[in-house]
Symmetry: C2
Subunit: 419 residues, 2 copies
Amino acid sequence: MTAQPLRAALLGFGTVGAAVARILVDRPDLADRVQLTHIFNRDVARKRSAWVPPSVTWTESVDDVFASKPDAVVEVIGGLEPAGTWVRRALTQGVAVVTANKMLLAAHAPELLHLAATKGTQLRFEAAVAGGVPLIHGVREGLAGDRLLRVAGILNGTSNYVLSRMAAGDEPMSAVLDDARRLGYAEADPSADIDGDDAGAKIVVLAGIAFRRHLRLADIPRQSIRSISAADFRYARQLGCTIRQIAMVGTSDGGFHAFVGPALVLRGSNFGLNMGANNVVTIAGHYGGENSFSGAGAGGPATAVAVVSDLLSLTQRTHERSEEWPAGTITPPPARPYYLRFVVRDRPGILASIAAALARQGINLDAVLQEPGYPKDALPFVITVEACQEAPLKTALHEIGRSDFNAEPPLALPMLLGD
Amino acid sequence: MTAQPLRAALLGFGTVGAAVARILVDRPDLADRVQLTHIFNRDVARKRSAWVPPSVTWTESVDDVFASKPDAVVEVIGGLEPAGTWVRRALTQGVAVVTANKMLLAAHAPELLHLAATKGTQLRFEAAVAGGVPLIHGVREGLAGDRLLRVAGILNGTSNYVLSRMAAGDEPMSAVLDDARRLGYAEADPSADIDGDDAGAKIVVLAGIAFRRHLRLADIPRQSIRSISAADFRYARQLGCTIRQIAMVGTSDGGFHAFVGPALVLRGSNFGLNMGANNVVTIAGHYGGENSFSGAGAGGPATAVAVVSDLLSLTQRTHERSEEWPAGTITPPPARPYYLRFVVRDRPGILASIAAALARQGINLDAVLQEPGYPKDALPFVITVEACQEAPLKTALHEIGRSDFNAEPPLALPMLLGD
């Protein structure tokens, strides 16, 4: 290539930023394509690393970065602000942006993509979903010829670690979460992970990649994994299943059904077999059937590979107009079977009462599971129901939930048995 | 996009060609990007399909196709000739080529890529490896930022069908192959599949994709799966393993080690869990660790998705210079453990003799497995050895193989336990 290398500035020198710099320094074969010119971070004196070559300017001033007129900035600061302001500033100047910031994209992708398109530049974000798994290039380009129907995945390493540990050891969630915090797999407040906001933001980005539509994070139904108990894993096992936090989005009737939360999946499926903090994503297409991608979902080096791949793609694809994501509409999910778990103060007539409430909504029972050995005043048992719509199921569960036999609110989990 | 659509001609209207036309006809949303202008095939009268719009010209003359000055030709004829002549003719005219022809690429990729580069056009081949699995886009672009170390996969559906059926049912290969032929999973002469030529050609293409080097198919060590018996699956199971035809290529000392043939893999690994005709490929990178891709390895619609994706990529990436693949050198594989299976006419002293021959080459035994219930004149037993180089192992096996206690030649399978 005879072109000048892409002059790139790094905004943020945390785990990912340092790993990006490390790859660019380690790989002299990339030097004629990408040149790292600036590293911006607070407290440069503390951050400065001896292995970064002296040709790179360290700065605490983002104005210095923009004054240098870079070809691209890499935003690996995270969070909505000031990252959003700086991404807008770059795009407005016609500077390409590579970002790993799923929250920024979930909130503002349409505006930022439009800005990139109008300024004739690019916004790239392979690193924003599933870290090192090359989903965007694989899905967007490699499956461009298909008509995609559905994307489903395990996108949150913390939740998958917690649930796969619970499945293996019959431990309560609180104990596993304590361990996860100690080991650094979970943050002090793991709400964003286990309540589904993190995976929800990623599914917003994946919907953009797969369908070129923007869904609002607030519109995506999310269910926390907090209500999953050791008993649920025992009942799931009886059904040949285990429980995973699944994030999915699919086309339906001109809109999109989406879901983030715990679901039953077959133990032998791609999802059921996925352990620890690994990510796995399955894409279903009308023509090509199912493709599955898996790999490290997080971590500095894996995420940095995605960032550097994006920088390299900028050196090759300079004449492309940035895509845009018009708004998409969330529609109800398709009919599917559900796992319903009740915890009751046992007395005669409970099953009849629940069955009657379901029957009134036209919902058919599939199986009733009740293991021995639980206390009579907090007895968990399970009913699985045949494929049904979500709305009548909610109506039935609302009615059932008002009965005074419930020791805990009823829990409904979709059974995703095709995956 | 305001540009004119890419005018594409289809060379070949077999299973894949028809599926390509079907997608282009089915998806009006692609009409402003790709326009199918010609379908070339012998015996057009028989092939002509009513669902192809009248704007498409059917022809039995390849000269007509070239006279129309297409922007791209899709070569889905297969085989070295006349496909090779026509691909060269297209590239020479500056016409981009999309091909699914792994044998042509394995034989002539360097020449064809060089021709594309000098003529300022493109040669694309996402469909040539693993059908619908978007490996090229995922690996080449999505993992461009990594330093790739190894690519390994199950790339031949026929062999995987045969071996996974044998593993499940304890059936001899001849019976499974007969069934596979009846069901259309194997050709009348399945040699190219089970002896490794098909997977070998694919590994040549994958080496090009991952490492941008061309390996000669003739230099890639291939081992047939014909010698695998039901007893091997029983012994493999004792080791927590099963047997799959694995194709792999990895970097080593400035060269590449490559292998196609049966290998022991852990039953719970991506490879061990892969059933039927599905393909799975694992890529190991220095920074990003392991990524895995799986999906339909063959079939008209899945392969056609790859072809159409390539056509779409041509509409976006018009200013890129075609890559080239300089020759790569095959080097010996790294030290690894092996599974050694002997079939002997039993008599005292055989194990001592084998152990001594291995010891003379500095090879350490790991385990000796002998199941009861086999005839004394054709007794299969297994020795696993610790990681060793291939050359001394071959020397030892050559020496052991000359002894008259062998009822069959000794069999050595690599144990790929990291996958």
